[in-house]
Symmetry: C2
Subunit: 252 residues, 2 copies
Amino acid sequence: MEPTADEPTIPPAIAEAWGLRGRAPKGPRPGLTLGGIVAAAVALADAEGLPAVSMSRVAKELGAATMALYRYVGAKEELLTLMVDAAYGEPPAPAGSGPDWRVGLSRWAWAEREALRRHPWIVRVPIGSPPLTPHQLGWLDAGLRCLDGTGLTEPEKMSVMLLLTSYVRNEALLTAQLLDAAQAAGREPGAVMPAYARLVARLADPARFPALHAVLASGALDSDDDPDDEFTFGLDRLLDGVETLVRARTAG
Amino acid sequence: MEPTADEPTIPPAIAEAWGLRGRAPKGPRPGLTLGGIVAAAVALADAEGLPAVSMSRVAKELGAATMALYRYVGAKEELLTLMVDAAYGEPPAPAGSGPDWRVGLSRWAWAEREALRRHPWIVRVPIGSPPLTPHQLGWLDAGLRCLDGTGLTEPEKMSVMLLLTSYVRNEALLTAQLLDAAQAAGREPGAVMPAYARLVARLADPARFPALHAVLASGALDSDDDPDDEFTFGLDRLLDGVETLVRARTAG
DNA sequence: CGCTTCTGCGTAGACCATACGCAGAACTAG
DNA sequence: CTAGTTCTGCGTATGGTCTACGCAGAAGCG
């Protein structure tokens, strides 16, 4: 029973997510499954948003009592972590034949964006610790694999992935914010950006915020342009930056 | 009293943050100040973390009753928004003489990083709407101003700023997560990264996560290298990407 | 058939945000 | 000076949250 003190504590629920869990030969059969609980929570978040996910609500969805969940999950935060992991799902398959890192990373980024689009609440989950769950690490691995063959060092690859996922997640967060603001104001989603622009224009003094007003005056925010174009632009900039480095490494 | 229905609703507390608030000639003098409340909340978050910031706790800190705060703030979320705005503070002064956009944006990014370092809880605040507060927009304006003179279009400038702030914020989030995990496990901050690496190595099967294991095997995560170097690397990559675009625009 | 061990879950405690409404302060109009 | 108005502070109360604890009973082992 002595916990190996040289290793950091690992939550049992996460261990179970990795498939390593001493199953008990004694006692009654568990009536619930960790996977089932997480799936129910994910479905609930998809349908009614993250605030609807409370322990009692998830339990009710499963026909169980609130406290029953705590036999499978140490705390709510663990459930949230596992929800995120489940919502990410399997990472995109590595690009089959083409060893082009750029198309690979691009596919990867679009896949993450798609996952975040399907489960917009992911970016709202307050995360307390670095990624340790299977799918999460699977995505990281899939991304790193795209960088094989480039002359980048391992830490550099890691930094590139951080850069990439930062961008995708933050873009998704902003999109989700706009969407929420839209439906909070009862507006159709297409009209929220212009409304936001008008609000900023009214609040911010042109003398104190000249560059901001230049953007507004240009009408850049009036038209509700394709969010995909927006995303593509940033992604291209980012990959251009990586490409500069790759060229320097392969040339050296 | 008819609210102009063509404009979206603007929370009174945010209006007050912009300095436009019809002060009441009647009634008793307010005993509290919105600025004072926000300052107390910020101080509390700095000292004890974001979870310590509850309405009752902030009120106690001010020697007032809980419900007194609701005369100044419509909901807790508004208080959080204003806390973030206050914590950001004034944006860095635009680079004096040098019209080099790159050093300007670099200074900007380092300044944001410094702000997030001083108030690590910022990245933990769940934000529900796009930025509308004075300092927040001030930072945006300051960043956009760095891009004057480059041939970028206004939407392009906006995208660049989104890209940049995404990176800075996400890097800060990851740092904060590592730090939290460190002190939750009772470890000194320097030892948390290697511990994390060892955990991943133990959980993830090398066959299923080859690229991840390559990183671990390289020892990239063992040494607790200077986080500033890490940050600089990503920032350089990002600015390289922007530079490619700027060159294309000025050449065209 | 006990003994052990584990599950489900009822109860209860400590918080939390906040809707509502009242007492009284500060000002204006007469 | 007085009455009216308006706003502040805040006490009370409601309905929600997470979760610590402990008990009843199921399932298997010796």
